[in-house]
């Protein structure tokens, strides 16, 4: 099994090729790299070679460890769209354990509705709120506005989230 912590350290290497190689190795580690969830999300702001392997690693990572949720909530509000997208995705994969992200995700949704946010991030926020389920009830007003949006994907995801939250 690869040394995940050593690879995480290499993601901060000054040499881009070394960072890309570390991201690739983390990708090959699959779910064993779950403890690297936050550094991999942060690597999404790196150059193309690092970013592509980081994204591939995140796709295969599964749910992040519970200890990562606080950092992921912070990163879900990041100005970098890809960072916010993947932090939001990992929060959704955490399900109810990510209830603390509700306000941040609702804010992403609202930002998408007023056009000040990357649509992909807002859509993922709607999806993630649905995955959190009843514990995300505080986001229902935002989801109801999103359900009436002209964007068919955002509206569908919001409707699905409302159904998942119930009540």
């Amino acid at each position: 099994m690869p040394d995940i912590q050593a690879l995480v350290a290499s993601l901060s290497n000054g040499n881009a090729a070394a960072r890309a190689e570390a991201a690739e190795s983390l990708c090959r580690a699959g779910v064993d790299a779950a403890s690297a969830a936050v550094p991999l999300v942060q690597a999404c702001r790196d150059d193309d070679q690092v970013r592509e392997w980081a994204v591939a690693a995140l796709e295969e990572l599964g749910p992040p460890p519970p200890a990562a949720i606080g950092d992921l909530v912070r990163l879900a509000g990041d100005d970098h769209a890809l960072v916010a997208y993947w932090a939001t995705t990992l929060l959704g994969r955490s399900g109810e354990a990510a209830a603390a992200a509700t306000a941040t995700l609702a804010a992403s949704l609202e930002a998408g509705l007023n056009g000040s946010h990357d649509p992909a991030v807002s859509e993922r926020a709607a999806w993630a709120l649905g995955k959190i389920g009843p514990a995300a009830a505080a986001a229902k007003p935002a989801l109801e506005r999103a359900a009436a949006a002209s964007d068919p994907r955002l509206a569908r995801l919001a409707r699905e989230a409302i159904a998942a939250i119930g009540g």
């Binding site: 890309a20 190689e21 990708c27 970013r51 994204v55 992909a120 859509e123 999806w127 569908r156």
Partner: protein, 317 residues
């Protein structure tokens, strides 16, 4: 990074090469492992082999590793058509360079590639790589499935192919629909793909053969929505398709009796077993193994497979 171990020159047949109904395949696959540099891989006369291969992050870094490229080229040469997923590169020369490497042994493959797709800055492309000595493409048929509801992260790429047999009127023609689903929205995407499949069936009155293939991020137990397609079936079941041998994610989906050309032969080209690679080196190639199915090269009308009366085997030109 450690170098790949040398290829075994006489490894056993791939352990996960399953449900092989055509005995003619076995010597072909064995030959492919033992005579890699002896010219183009001979293919069976009575079948075409259609494959799907997710080549994880297929881009500059992968093409910079000769050992990886060699495994990829040897894998692709086993098949008549390979639907590729996950081309991820800024450069437009990844697939052309790869096809040049495939053809370095005298093979005559060509390719078509789709546009970059994805909802974020991280984009992917689909590609079809096919053996021009046995397969023709209708250039006007290449495109991306419309997705006005934005349900699919990477809407599938389609193209229509035809086997090269004589007379051409007897050739097996078919749509291939290449897909890589979003692992976080699998149920919704499979539901949408059911509609895509049915739309492709209706796309041309003269074409009833549709083969949806790719990385579905799901296995047969999750194919409930596909049951809305009359006669639907799929090639891969009961085995794993990822390199770690833990998941069944890749498949070929089609409908019967429309695609009566399906011969019942299918398999997973296990990268570790076929090329004698330890897991960590196989993962350098991809986290997915190629999956494939065998089809009769002439159009089948009515019930059952006729002998290829009046038709010759796929020809090399």
């Amino acid at each position: 990074m450690a170098a790949l171990v040398p290829f075994r020159r006489s490894s056993p047949l791939p352990v996960r090469l399953v449900a092989l109904c055509l005995i003619a395949f076995a010597p072909r696959l064995a030959l492919a492992q033992t005579a890699a540099y002896a010219g183009p891989v001979p293919k069976p006369a009575g079948a075409i082999l259609v494959a799907s291969f997710n080549i994880q992050v297929f881009g500059e870094s992968k093409m910079a590793k000769p050992q990886v490229v060699e495994v990829l080229t040897r894998a692709v040469r086993q098949f008549d058509i390979v639907a590729i997923q996950e081309v991820r590169a800024k450069s437009d020369d990844i697939v052309p360079a790869f096809v040049r490497a495939v053809n370095a042994d005298g093979s005559r493959y060509h390719y078509v590639i789709g546009p970059r797709q994805g909802r974020t800055v991280s984009k992917e492309q689909y590609a079809f790589v096919y053996d021009t000595t046995r397969i023709e493409i209708d250039p006007s048929s290449v495109g991306v499935v419309p997705d006005p509801q934005n349900t699919l992260h990477r809407p599938p790429m389609h193209a229509r192919f035809r086997t090269r047999i004589n007379p051409a009127e007897m050739a097996f023609t078919f749509w291939l629909v290449d897909i890589h689903t979003d692992p976080d929205e699998v149920p919704q995407e499979l539901d949408a793909l059911t509609g895509v499949f049915q739309a492709m069936q209706a796309a041309r009155p003269d074409e009833d053969d549709v083969i949806l293939l790719g990385d579905l991020n799901a296995g047969p137990p999750q194919f409930k929505s596909f049951q809305r397609i009359p006669g639907v079936t799929w090639a891969v079941a009961g085995v794993t398709t990822n390199t770690r041998r833990t998941k069944t994610y890749d498949n070929l989906v089609f409908a019967r009796p429309a695609t009566s050309e399906y011969l019942g032969g299918w398999g997973v080209l296990d990268l570790q077993a076929t090329f004698g690679l330890p897991l960590e080196h196989a993962l350098e190639v991809s986290d997915h193994n190629p999956v494939w199915a065998a089809f009769y090269p002439a159009e089948v009308r009515g019930a059952g497979l006729p002998p290829m009366a009046g038709a010759t085997a796929p020809v090399r030109r």
